[in-house]
């Protein structure tokens, strides 16, 4: 059990009267990078919120680092970055990070480190309100990197970034996993990012279509790229349902 950073069993989530996750189960080994891939509205964000412990769940269990998700002992160990940047608009990047570092009990030296890691050195003294969309989402990502999180849950962290930066961030994610043994759950709706994950969860309409490594997925579906593999899986699922 302890070899998994995240273990989800039969997770069901309802929003309003609609069930948006229909009994999802999967595990994430420690020190690996898991990609959550699927179209907008498929339940990626809801699933990540459940792992962080901020989502009301209707059934099932979510175990994170051996504890029930959202437990008090986990709050300093799990770094979380939401899809829309969650920083204070009327504070500078440094001031934002200084506050969250104090809340997390992270050392002050972390502030400069994470600013460097997300490449925001030039904008450190700027009010968050004046940042571009991409800069702001990097500021929000930087907050999740503060301290020494054992699990990072990052919801679409690379949206709107230029390819060079996106490449750098993926490099950072792998360094964190390989060097510090951090486990990462990264969501994306961009298929070309999927190939950079150790493992993929392909999601659609609140269900997991596939849970495998990118290479295995390509082999299994006989598709050359992941976009085609995804389409093949959706088509297979639909023929099964029709029978």
């Amino acid at each position: 059990m302890m070899s998994y950073a995240v273990a989800v069993r039969d997770l069901r989530v309802e929003r309003g009267r609609r069930e948006v996750l229909h009994g999802v189960s999967f595990e994430v080994p420690r020190g690996s990078v898991l990609g959550l891939i699927g179209p907008s509205g498929c339940g990626k964000t809801t699933l990540m919120r459940a792992v962080v412990g901020v989502q009301t769940v209707a059934g099932g269990t979510v175990t994170v680092l051996g504890e029930p998700a959202g437990g008090p002992g986990l709050r300093a160990k799990v770094g979380y970055s939401t899809q829309s940047p969650a920083v204070y608009d009327d504070l500078t990047v440094t001031e934002n990070l200084a506050y969250f570092a104090a809340v997390l009990g992270a050392p002050k030296t972390d502030i400069a480190r994470v600013i460097g890691e997300v490449g925001l050195d030039d904008a450190a003294g700027q009010l968050a309100r004046t940042l571009s969309g991409g800069q702001k989402s990097r500021a929000s990502l930087a907050v999740a990197l503060l301290g020494a999180p054992e699990l990072l849950v990052l919801d679409e962290p690379t949206v709107g970034l230029d390819p060079v930066l996106r490449n750098e961030l993926w490099g950072l994610f792998h360094r964190l996993a390989a060097g510090r043994g951090v486990t990462l759950m990264v969501s994306s709706h961009v298929m070309d990012e999927a190939s950079r994950c150790d493992r993929l969860l392909l999601m659609r309409e609140g269900e997991i279509l596939a849970d495998d490594s990118p290479g295995a997925l390509r082999d299994r579906t006989g598709a050359t790229d992941l976009e085609a593999a995804f389409l093949r899986l959706v088509a297979d699922r639909e023929t099964v349902n029709e029978r």
Partner: protein, 243 residues
């Protein structure tokens, strides 16, 4: 609860205000300007002396209610609250942080309006001043606490602003400023008996007439007790898990 996180939160809110000069100017200057206006409108020193304590009592409540409800609503809508709820921060850390930061602003506000009233406007209470200051600050705290609570019921800033007259006007009408409370219809007097502002106004009248005598401390205790109750209820509306 953690003193360090509470203080960091208060410092963060004051830093946000420091970047917003116009709001600070409005908070600190408006009560004083209204007082000056009132002085020239009334044009009669004795009538002015009797209205000054009323404004001293009402203004801190009003301003603190508005500013706090909008500030906390913003935390909810920008996602920073969700981020904080996933962090080691305790709910009371956040509420007390707001109470401390805006309480400090209330001290500035009351200090300036009192200084101007006592010097330029020749305000003369005829008895010691500190009981009136106690009531004004107690009321500022009550406004902060009720603002925090009401923001939980507002989805947008428009709604939050509309809560101000809803909470404020009945309390003023029934509080004994315009009609003495014992001359109201029995039902209205009962309602008046359960509204915290009634006790604040009574304490203010006692402070202006005789100082900290009679029921003064009981009334102040009711005001502070209501503020604590509103803070606790406000904490209950902050959920770590949301749908």
């Amino acid at each position: 609860m953690s003193v360090q996180i509470t203080l960091a939160t208060a410092r963060r809110i004051l830093t946000q205000l420091r970047h917003d000069h116009r709001t600070v100017a409005l908070m600190v200057l408006v009560p004083t300007l209204v007082m000056v206006l009132l002085y020239y409108v009334i044009g009669d020193q004795r009538a002015f002396d009797s209205w000054t304590p009323v404004l001293l009592c009402v203004f801190p409540f009003l301003v603190m209610f508005l500013v706090t409800s909008i500030a906390t609503l913003r935390e909810r809508t920008t996602g920073t609250l969700e981020r904080l709820m996933a962090s080691p921060l305790g709910k009371l850390d956040l509420l007390l942080g707001y109470g401390l930061a805006f309480g400090l602003m209330a001290v500035l506000q009351v200090a300036l309006v009192l200084t101007v009233s006592l010097t330029w406007l020749g305000f003369d209470l005829g008895t010691s001043l500190w009981p009136l200051v106690v009531v004004a600050l107690g009321n500022a705290l009550l406004g902060t606490a009720l603002g925090l609570l009401c923001s939980a019921f507002a989805r947008t800033e428009f709604q939050a602003v509309q809560f101000m007259p809803v909470v404020m006007i009945p309390q003023l009408l029934l509080g004994g400023i315009f009609v003495a409370r014992d001359q109201m219809a029995t039902v209205l007097e009962w309602v008046s008996n359960v509204l915290p502002m009634s006790y604040a106004i009574e304490a203010m009248k006692l402070a202006a007439a005789t100082g900290a005598e009679g029921d003064f401390w009981r009334d102040v205790a009711v005001v502070l007790g209501s503020a604590v109750l509103a803070l606790v209820l406000g904490a209950a509306t902050l959920r770590r898990r949301t749908p």
